[in-house]
């Protein structure tokens, strides 16, 4: 596959993933640039061409972690107990969410959950593929997504109900 075809196919998805994590256009563009630059220098080492897309996502995520100096690994949480944190959210509360609002909400989610949640919504990857991209165990990915979703729901509820009057408990 030539470079232009590769860019055509994947740059938009990579940008959205980068934007989900950085929330800054210039930083997201830099991450995408860096990802394709890494491809240009190391992509030939990839033997299995069916893994190009996940390779690009993994590379972008590594670049992001590097840029944020997240040198310590996030703890590997298992999925147990995450379900207890999941509140009910009425459909009306989310029916008018746009990209800006979604990004604003995601920015308030624990940083260690953000990449997993973004991939969960942006791409139709299996959980095994997301785990491979983020280079963490499957259980950790599921836990991060479940906990990230719980936090998103809490944020939506908090936005809808003024502090002190919240009624959306865990069910």
């Amino acid at each position: 596959m030539d470079f232009q075809s590769l860019v055509d196919l994947h740059y938009a998805a990579l940008y959205r993933f980068a934007m989900s994590m950085t929330r800054t256009e210039s930083d997201a563009c830099d991450l995408v640039q860096q990802t394709f630059l890494t491809w240009a220098t190391k992509g030939h080492q990839l033997q299995d061409t069916s893994k190009v897309k996940s390779w690009l996502f993994t590379t972008l995520h590594r670049c992001f972690l590097e840029s944020r100096r997240r040198l310590t690994r996030f703890p590997h949480l298992e999925i147990t107990e995450a379900e207890a944190e999941l509140p009910n959210v009425e459909p009306d509360l989310v029916s008018h969410l746009d990209a800006q609002e979604v990004l604003r909400l995601l920015s308030q989610v624990d940083e260690q959950f953000q990449a997993a949640v973004a991939l969960f919504y942006l791409e139709d990857y299996s959980y095994n593929e997301i785990a491979s991209i983020l280079e963490v165990p499957l259980g950790t990915v599921k836990s991060r997504i479940a906990r990230g979703l719980a936090q998103l729901k809490e944020l939506v509820l908090r936005k809808a109900v003024p502090p002190g009057k919240a009624t959306g408990g865990s069910t």
Binding site: Y15, E83, N88, V94, S95, E101, V102, D124
Partner: protein, 248 residues
């Protein structure tokens, strides 16, 4: 499967994906159809998932991004490093060789030879850092950088100054200058400003710098140069008064 267990599983359900094919998910979906309370929760959850998914997918991609990616195609993004000539068609390599030979001979006859002066080297590497640079290895582990450089024949036995020891390493790369391998080590100063350490063997230049660091302005950057042991060093960074001194 209990209702609570089904809910745990359905939290991760994405409508319209292959998730439903998972046996556990299928069982949980079946239970949601039978259990009214679980069913109501699941409908709300699906609406939430659908809205969030749509929101994420509305993220607009800048119109200029694709063009800027394509402008900088791989072959144009390498600098100082020789191109992979063996990948080119033989005729092109041969033609290029003839042209280089002719130009080389003409240059030798018509012009004085470009001196292998340290100032030329310094200007070249600082210019590379300023305009575009490529890290071959992106890591915060100096040992990894040294191993990579050693494997590529670049100086890997460089000494770190005390000031640099405290900076955040971001990676490194191998460059060449007049066929001499050059080590590049990149540091982050912490305010989105980078510092670059270039190391080359002192035997590669006629006039290696003295042992005591000398500061000069090079291409809108500030650079310090010195020699230690068999290596010459150039440390380049933003042009700010006295800032380099604390890293020497």
């Amino acid at each position: 499967m209990t209702s609570i267990e089904a809910r745990e599983i359905l939290v991760l359900y994405r409508p319209g994906t292959a998730d439903a094919a998972d046996p556990q998910m299928a069982e949980a979906l079946a239970l949601a159809r039978q259990d009214p309370e679980l069913g109501r929760w699941f409908e709300q959850h699906r609406a939430f998932q659908k809205a969030m998914r749509a929101g994420f997918r509305q993220i607009e991609v800048p119109a200029h991004l694709k063009a800027s990616l394509l402008i900088q195609k791989p072959a144009q993004r390498t600098f100082l490093t020789p191109q992979a000539w063996w990948r080119r068609p033989v005729w092109l390599t041969a033609a290029a060789a003839v042209v280089v030979l002719v130009l080389g001979l003409a240059g030798a006859w018509l012009k004085p030879r470009i001196p292998d002066r340290f100032a030329n080297y310094q200007s070249r590497v600082v210019g590379a850092a300023q305009l575009a640079y490529r890290m071959d290895v992106v890591t915060n582990d100096m040992q990894q950088v040294r191993q990579f450089l050693a494997s590529r024949g670049a100086p890997a036995d460089y000494n770190m100054t005390q000031g640099l020891e405290h900076l955040q390493l971001t990676g490194g790369g191998r460059l060449t200058w007049r066929s001499n391998p050059v080590t590049m080590v990149c540091f982050d100063r912490g305010d989105k400003q980078m510092l670059f350490l270039f190391v080359m063997r002192r035997s590669a230049v006629k006039d290696p710098p003295p042992k005591t660091p000398q500061l000069t302005k090079v291409r809108q950057m500030l650079a310090a140069r010195w020699t230690q042991g068999d290596n010459t060093y150039v440390l380049a960074g933003p042009e700010e008064a006295d800032f380099l001194k604390k890293y020497l």
